[in-house]
Subunit: 203 residues, 2 copies
DNA sequence: AAACAGTTTAACCGAATGGTCAAAAGTATT
DNA sequence: AATACTTTTGACCATTCGGTTAAACTGTTT
């Protein structure tokens, strides 16, 4: 049979994703993953020989999923302001669907910085970054954006979208105390963060 | 003897802090902590009965250390703008000394949200937050700050300081590719983030 | 229907890990 | 110097965990 083939592997992959996202590599248990996938533990090792291999597969997939979402930044067609609005809105929408992703990626990168180093070895950010400046060269006179402060601005924008999800557990406790709903806060954040950034960079 | 007493317990606590910060609760090994402290593993259990108790002690200490740094926000004496400048600068200075703290706290809260819920049970953020508005009530006419968007603004400021350290492993890889030095970036961030926020909230 | 190939399982294994214990070493008290 | 108390250690234990193995099961080919 071939149909069930992919099904089993996918079931494993999904279960592994859930468990790894929640517990991290070191906290995850192969037995737990097997249980969630509704299969025998030996079958896990039949499809993915070791825990490390299974983790690598999951991590690569999730990291790619995360990084892919940044590609719209490096394309043209929108004005700078609209691009900022579009990116922040879409990125928050993406994170709403994958709320555990930031915490997972952050922790696993901290635990093993080499892995991400290897993954991004062949990406030339220099070209990507200068592309941004080039795309909006005619608009740049209206904003406080230079090659020098681009790292500050880029990390700032990402901070605004990612941090609330990474620190969600903490933020939710505080918000519940103040009577704020996290989901509503996230919904409002799309516009707030975008206008916040635009206001800040405008000359 | 009493002098050596505290010394041993402190050596253990320091070693445990290092290991837990780097590996997290689930990745840490009691043997590793014992080795780092230069003592026998049995002695670990003599001072801290179980791994959970040792972890709780370390986590509580580190969480308190982190939260304490927010107290200047809730005191008066400075203008709103200077308070923002002061907090961001001091907070980044603090994080420079404790760069692993954000990732550690974030991960452990995600792994067990209940722990932080219990820790902050008796803190009334509502009072703290309204104190901010009260302290600067005379200045508020000049800024786009209301009780409604305070959650957005507060989380925004914290995002700007904390995220670079949480995601340091990733940011450093990208920066090294673009030829930016992380330490220099952090140094510049003190002023950048403060002026960024002030510009954004000014009417 | 027999041989074959891929899939799934139950039972098992060895190493790692958190934790214990009794004895040794060290320190203070008398 | 004898006693009593605390600290430190080496050896050990029980359990958990990642991983293996051989056999059973399923569908396909001949």
């Amino acid at each position: 049979m071939e149909g069930n083939d992919k099904l089993t592997e996918d079931k494993i992959f999904e279960a592994a994703t859930t468990v790894f996202e929640e517990q991290g590599m070191t906290g995850a248990r192969m037995q737990n993953i097997a249980d969630r996938a509704g299969i025998n533990k030996a079958l896990l090792h039949y499809y993915f020989r070791t825990k490390d291999q299974l983790f690598d597969a999951v991590f690569s997939k999730l990291a790619q999923k995360m990084f892919q979402k940044f590609s719209p930044i490096f394309e043209e067609n929108l004005s700078l302001e609209d691009k900022i609005r579009f990116f922040i809105k879409e990125h928050i929408n993406f994170l709403k669907e994958n709320p555990k992703l930031p915490g997972f990626i952050i922790h696993e990168i901290n635990r093993n910085p080499q892995r991400i180093k290897k993954m991004l070895r062949n990406v030339d950010f220099k070209i990507l970054w200068s592309a941004i400046l080039k795309h909006h060269s005619d608009e740049l006179g209206d904003y406080n954006i230079t090659e020098e402060n681009l790292p500050q601005i880029m990390t700032t924008i990402v901070s605004l979208t990612v941090f609330p999800f990474a620190a969600r557990g903490l933020i939710e406790v505080i918000f519940s105390n103040v009577g704020v709903d996290f989901d509503k806060y996230i919904e409002e954040r799309k516009e707030f963060a975008a206008e916040f950034v635009i206001k800040a960079i405008k000359k």
